[in-house]
């Protein structure tokens, strides 16, 4: 079954969506959209360095993303710049550095479009194993730190006072983000990973009665967007990443229409009875 490239892409894409949904909820709750962008732009530098030193690209991207988030933490404490200025600085410097390093390596032939926008044709069985294996680890760790991380999201001071060690949870969360970007890069492309984190979570917000439900819904909506987007990509020969994001956008717009208002009525009725 996995011999068909489309099935491979679908399995890989759904794997990415399942990881991106729950993590994306935290990105939305904590207003970290720009942070996601910064990490994914850093991924390109990771690819360039990976090629230069001939190490596995996924590992290289993970390491560079992790370093970028640590650099951000350090700079936030020391520098006198605001967070968004720092993020912009890191984000575009990493992107530019990556592109420059890639251009220098004339002996490497690289599909830049594939890196930036994802390439379903490139998904191998090894990639699938990596996505599902790595994804299981990411989701397992996220489940383990869920309570402290969520408490720190609601109020860091309560979390700190009541022994939730929010700093530790935040650090682990940043490493998970780096992991997701390394895993998702091949499918979605570095430029659009943030969309996969944010749009399904934003769509799920409307229907979710609680944080855990929102995470599950976001994963499901992301998987639906992957299926729709990849089918479109196959039919119309469009790049896979943008197609998936457009599909996710369609679901989001759909959630704003009166059709989705049914969900509100059902919830109101349930609340009235309770």
């Amino acid at each position: 079954m996995l011999d068909d490239f489309f099935v491979r892409a679908l399995v890989a894409g759904c794997g990415v969506a399942l990881i991106a949904g729950p993590l994306g909820c935290f990105i939305v709750w904590r207003r970290l959209a720009y942070f996601g962008d910064t990490l994914s732009h850093g991924a390109l530098l990771g690819v360039a360095l990976g090629l230069l030193f001939e190490i596995d690209l996924t590992i290289a991207v993970f390491v560079v993303s992790a370093l970028v988030s640590l650099a951000l933490l350090t700079l936030q404490r020391r520098a006198s710049l605001s967070s968004d200025a720092l993020l912009g600085l890191l984000s575009h410097s990493a992107l530019a550095l990556g592109l420059v390093v890639l251009a220098f390596m004339t002996w490497v032939r690289i599909d830049l479009m594939g890196l930036l926008f994802g390439d379903i044709l490139a998904v191998s069985k090894t990639d699938i194993a990596l996505i599902w294996g790595g994804g299981a680890v990411v989701l397992g760790v996220l489940a383990a730190i869920w309570r402290p991380l969520f408490a720190a999201t609601v109020n860091p001071e309560i979390a700190e006072a009541e022994g939730m060690q929010p700093d530790r949870a935040n650090l682990v969360f940043m490493l998970l983000m780096a992991g997701v970007i390394a895993i998702a890069m091949k499918i979605i492309g570095v430029l659009l990973i943030t969309a996969m984190l944010i749009i399904p979570a934003a769509t799920a917000r409307r229907f979710a009665g609680g944080p855990e439900l929102m995470a599950i819904l976001a994963a499901a909506i992301g998987a639906a967007a992957v299926s729709g987007g990849l089918s479109a990509s196959l039919n119309w020969d469009t790049p896979s990443g943008p197609s998936i994001v457009v599909a996710a956008l369609c679901l989001f717009v759909l959630s704003l229409t009166p059709l989705a208002g049914l969900a509100d009525i059902v919830r109101a009725r349930r609340a009235g009875r309770g």
Partner: protein, 282 residues
């Protein structure tokens, strides 16, 4: 109700400085089991900072903060704003930092009068409702140490008294220590074991005395305080200027009003500045 054993939390000459300015300095206090300690003082006097030092949220830049190991702590901060993107019901909020049994959660919500809000979204609550919910969450955890920063802000007057009675009752039931920050001194005092008056430093501390007629006290906390259950005698020997310096009774001006600067005139264990409104609070 004083603790015979080691205190749950204690501060020893602790202070916090930010950007070269001391927010609060030289604070020593301790909260023992079954004890209610109340921090009072004007705006910007370092009450919240002191509570955060006691909780370990803020590390003291001088002195030390010692907490008993393995304490169950509940904290109700002064300000909590829940982002609208967070789908958070009152019921889920009760379990924010640890699972509590549904019986405990329900009893706590009954005690603060918010059972009817169980399924409501936290971001839709009014200020007073949210305050009650936060108190319920803190109580349901059955803490050893309960730290409340202006816990009844936004709550209507009759509710306010009921909630303070509740805090007194919880102290009895759980035998927990309570560190309370309040400006409603006249209501809080009934159950308070010790009052610490802050104004960038500890002005005075000790057992509250049941004297209501002190004009200095009335000046510091307003006319309604005339019916106070207990007050301090405030003989002000120094005034805090807007720039943080201190003008003393003899007219001299210093950077702070520590005892070692030679300007402090103690009146028994009670002293302070009744005219602090002219200073930092102006």
């Amino acid at each position: 109700m004083a603790s015979q054993t080691a205190p749950l939390v204690s501060l020893n000459q602790a202070g916090v400085s930010r950007a070269g300015r001391w927010l609060v300095r030289g604070v020593s206090l301790s909260v023992g089991r079954g004890e209610i300690v109340t921090l009072i003082g004007p705006n910007g006097s370092g009450k919240s900072t002191t509570a955060k030092m006691a909780l370990g949220i803020v590390r003291p830049d001088e002195g030390e903060a010692i907490r008993h190991k393995g304490l169950v702590v509940s904290y109700v901060p002064q300000k909590v704003s829940v982002d609208w993107t967070l789908p958070l019901s009152v019921d889920r909020f009760m379990h924010l930092t640890g699972r509590v049994s549904s019986g405990d959660a329900l009893r706590a919500m009954e005690a603060t009068g918010v059972t009817h809000l169980r399924d409501a979204e936290v971001r839709n609550l009014s200020g007073g409702e949210f305050q009650r919910v936060m108190l319920a969450r803190a109580v349901a955890r059955k803490p050893d140490l309960l730290v409340l920063d202006e816990p009844v802000q936004g709550v209507d007057f009759s509710g306010e008294i009921a909630l303070y009675e509740l805090i007194g009752r919880i102290r009895g039931e759980l035998d927990c220590g309570v560190l309370l920050i309040s400006h409603d001194l006249h209501i809080v005092m009934a159950a308070t074991d010790r009052v610490i008056c802050l104004n960038g430093h500890v002005c005075c501390s000790g057992t509250p005395t049941a004297v209501a007629s002190s004009p200095e006290y009335r000046r510091m906390f307003g006319a309604p305080a005339a019916q106070a259950l207990a007050v301090y005698e405030h003989h002000h020997d120094h005034t805090h200027l807007p720039d943080g310096r201190v003008r003393h009774a003899d007219g001299s001006v210093t950077d702070h009003c520590h005892a070692e600067d030679g300007h402090h005139h103690h009146h028994g264990d009670a002293h302070g500045h009744g005219s602090s409104r002219e200073g930092r609070d102006a």
